[in-house]
């Protein structure tokens, strides 16, 4: 792995972090509405995993989708514009934070119903297999999502039909305010794979290089022999969404995890091993910050959707009003 790739990954993680910090501010200012689920603390997961996916591989996730969108190659400005509900957003302002998508880079969203995108992932993988493509579908979901029926039906089907899906559980310890052990019969999510005789692994999600390595192995396994469940241990530093009272955890706990801030961990690693100079990393940070500033400007200056947009893109054929 060469130096430039390290810098690129570091820049990407900082970009996601700064972009979401900016989003939080815009939310407080009332410029972003609805729900806003920040990825802050989990950046190593999307960056590490997506640094090794192939262009033909499809990606799909839940509503906590900003980081994954950016790691898929969605421009920060298109993300920011969507958050502001502008016509220049990834979904023309119709989807919002929870529904980013850009099929141009094979990012299929951004889905707000917990677990509902797992069957979609199975179906996309089925389509690729049907066409004898070697593409893999990477499906991200949370620990809380593993307790819903969709998880069971999708993992079982993917194994029975040998579908090329990499199931990725971002175990950030909580589903909203519910700790894993209060909602799941097993503490290790990867153990659920055993009920399907499915290959699986568990990795530290605060270390981007370990995540990357685990993803590389897992993707190879999927291309070779079918579905795989990868559990990534991570943590969200912010509330579940904006305005979370956070009664379910202590600030001590949060601070303990923040010592493993994936960006800090990575920076230390790159410096300690003299892989990249501090100067280069600082430059990357400045670049990222400029990108965010530009993205915010772009989003703010972009136009609102026209009133007619209300009835657009619903049906391909025929009227909207019956």
């Amino acid at each position: 792995m060469d130096r430039d790739e390290h810098v690129r990954m570091y820049r990407e993680m900082v970009l996601v972090r700064r972009m979401e910090e900016a989003a939080a501010v815009l939310y407080q200012q009332g410029k972003i509405g609805g729900f806003l689920h920040l990825y802050i603390g989990q950046e190593a997961v999307s960056t590490g995993i997506l640094s090794v996916r192939q262009p033909q591989d499809r990606v799909i996730t839940a509503y906590r989708d900003h980081g994954i969108a950016v790691s898929c190659g969605v421009p920060a400005q298109a993300v920011m514009a969507e958050l502001l509900g502008k016509v220049t957003g990834t979904s023309k302002g119709k989807g919002g934070s929870m529904h980013l998508a850009d099929v141009g880079v094979n990012f299929w969203g951004g889905h707000a119903i917990v677990g509902a995108h797992l069957p979609l992932a199975a179906g996309m993988a089925l389509a690729d297999k049907y066409r004898h493509s070697d593409a893999v579908t990477l499906c991200f979901f949370g620990d809380g999502a593993t307790n819903i029926g969709y998880f069971h039906e999708s993992l079982n089907l993917s194994k029975v039909w040998q579908l090329p899906v990499l199931w990725i559980c971002e175990n950030n310890q909580y589903g909203m305010g519910t700790a894993v052990d209060r909602a799941s019969a097993v503490s290790e999510i990867r153990q659920k794979a055993e009920g399907y005789g499915m290959a699986n692994a568990r990795v530290d999600g605060m270390n981007v290089l370990e995540v990357r390595e685990a993803a590389e192995k897992a993707l190879a396994a999927v291309r070779q022999s079918g579905p795989f469940l990868l559990e990534v241990l991570t943590y969200r530093f912010r509330g579940h969404s904006m305005g979370d009272p956070e009664r379910y955890r202590t600030s001590d706990e949060v601070q303990r995890w923040q010592q493993d801030d994936p960006i800090g961990v990575y920076r230390r690693h790159l410096l300690d091993h003299k892989i990249v100079t501090a100067k280069a990393l600082d430059a990357a940070e400045v670049e990222a910050e400029d990108q965010v500033a530009a993205a915010v400007r772009f989003a703010e200056e972009s136009p609102e959707p026209a009133p007619e947009a209300l009835v657009a893109d619903i049906y391909v054929e025929g009227p909207v009003e019956p």
Partner: protein, 318 residues
């Protein structure tokens, strides 16, 4: 009607490599209602896929395959099991396209057979068509004749929009002319299935057959009923209904499902809204009694709309 549906599926699979079938017992068994009999041997296990009993992943995987460019036909063994896939149908099939600003289409067909009258008990005898028609983003089709069954299914499979295609279990035996080969009927177009000057009967699916029988009986008494078949519940084509009503000034709406918040309510409301000055008598609705259908044959039949109920309702509006 079974053959008509079967033919449509077969022809579309022959025509388009991207079309495939998935569902419970569609393959080796040949379809619980024998609609896909012979398909597994001819098209093979890749295109005729037996699934686990897991409705939400059946429809969900179909949605996923559809946005990825295939044209899945998902079969729900009965519409009563659609409730287990409800989230995929109304939150995903119906919304995926617009929610992402039209980046992709969802050309999925969800086939589901419904209807009462076979002593299957409360959970297995429903005709809940109306609740699916309530959701914008979906198209809901429910043919009442073999020809329409074929033409509409072929149109549904070729449509780039998600279509819920509702069959009726007691119509499979219904005979009727079916043009073979290339024959399509447009989705969203109602059709006059019998002409008459005295009263307009608006109906669809199984109740079309009963309505036609009622019309024959009435005709003996000198009353000529015009029977308009909605064929599609969403988008709802009121044109032929209103044209007919403006001539007859009287209407009876017949559906198999429960009356309250049913199809008839919408159709009646629309007639009053759009042809108020032509109304000579209160519009009547014939529908199922407001009960979960019981197993006992007499009780079940007493809850379902019968030909006599239609005849009586027509007499009331005359």
């Amino acid at each position: 009607m079974r053959e008509a549906i079967s033919q449509a599926l077969w022809e579309e699979m022959e025509r388009d490599e991207r079309v495939f079938i998935l569902g419970e017992e569609v393959g080796v068994w040949g379809g619980t209602y024998a609609v896909t009999k012979g398909f597994y041997d001819h098209f093979g296990p890749e295109r005729v896929r037996d699934t686990p009993i897991a409705e939400s992943v059946i429809v969900g995987a179909a949605n996923g395959a559809a946005i990825a460019g295939l044209r899945p036909v998902a079969e729900l063994m009965t519409i009563n099991f659609a409730f287990l896939a409800m989230d995929q149908i109304v939150n995903h099939s119906a919304k995926l396209r617009s929610m992402f600003g039209g980046q992709f289409t969802v050309p999925v067909v969800i086939r589901a057979v419904g209807g009462g009258g076979r002593q299957l008990g409360a959970t297995h005898s429903q005709t809940p068509d109306v609740i699916f028609a309530h959701f914008p983003g979906l198209k809901v089709v429910a043919p009442g004749t073999p020809a329409d069954a074929k033409g509409l299914l072929k149109a549904a499979i070729r449509s780039d929009d998600p279509v819920m295609y509702i069959e009726h279990a007691t119509l499979y035996q219904t005979r009727g002319e079916v043009p073979d080969g290339e024959f399509l009927e447009p989705i969203g177009v109602s059709k006059v299935q019998r002409q008459g000057r005295d009263v307009t009967i608006v109906t669809y699916s199984k109740m079309l057959q009963l309505s036609l029988q009622a019309a024959e009986q009435l005709s003996k008494g000198g009353v000529e009923a015009e029977v308009v078949d909605l064929r599609t519940l969403r988008p709802l084509d009121m044109g032929p209904v209103l044209d007919s009503f403006r001539r007859t000034n009287r209407a009876v709406i017949v559906e198999e499902g429960w009356r309250s918040f049913g199809v008839g309510a919408e159709v009646a409301a629309r007639i009053y809204e759009e042809a108020f000055d032509y109304v000579d008598a209160p519009i009547r609705r014939v529908a199922q009694k407001e009960v979960p259908l019981p197993y006992n044959r007499q009780l079940e039949q007493s809850a379902l709309p019968q030909v006599e109920d239609i005849v009586r309702a027509v007499r009331e509006v005359l």
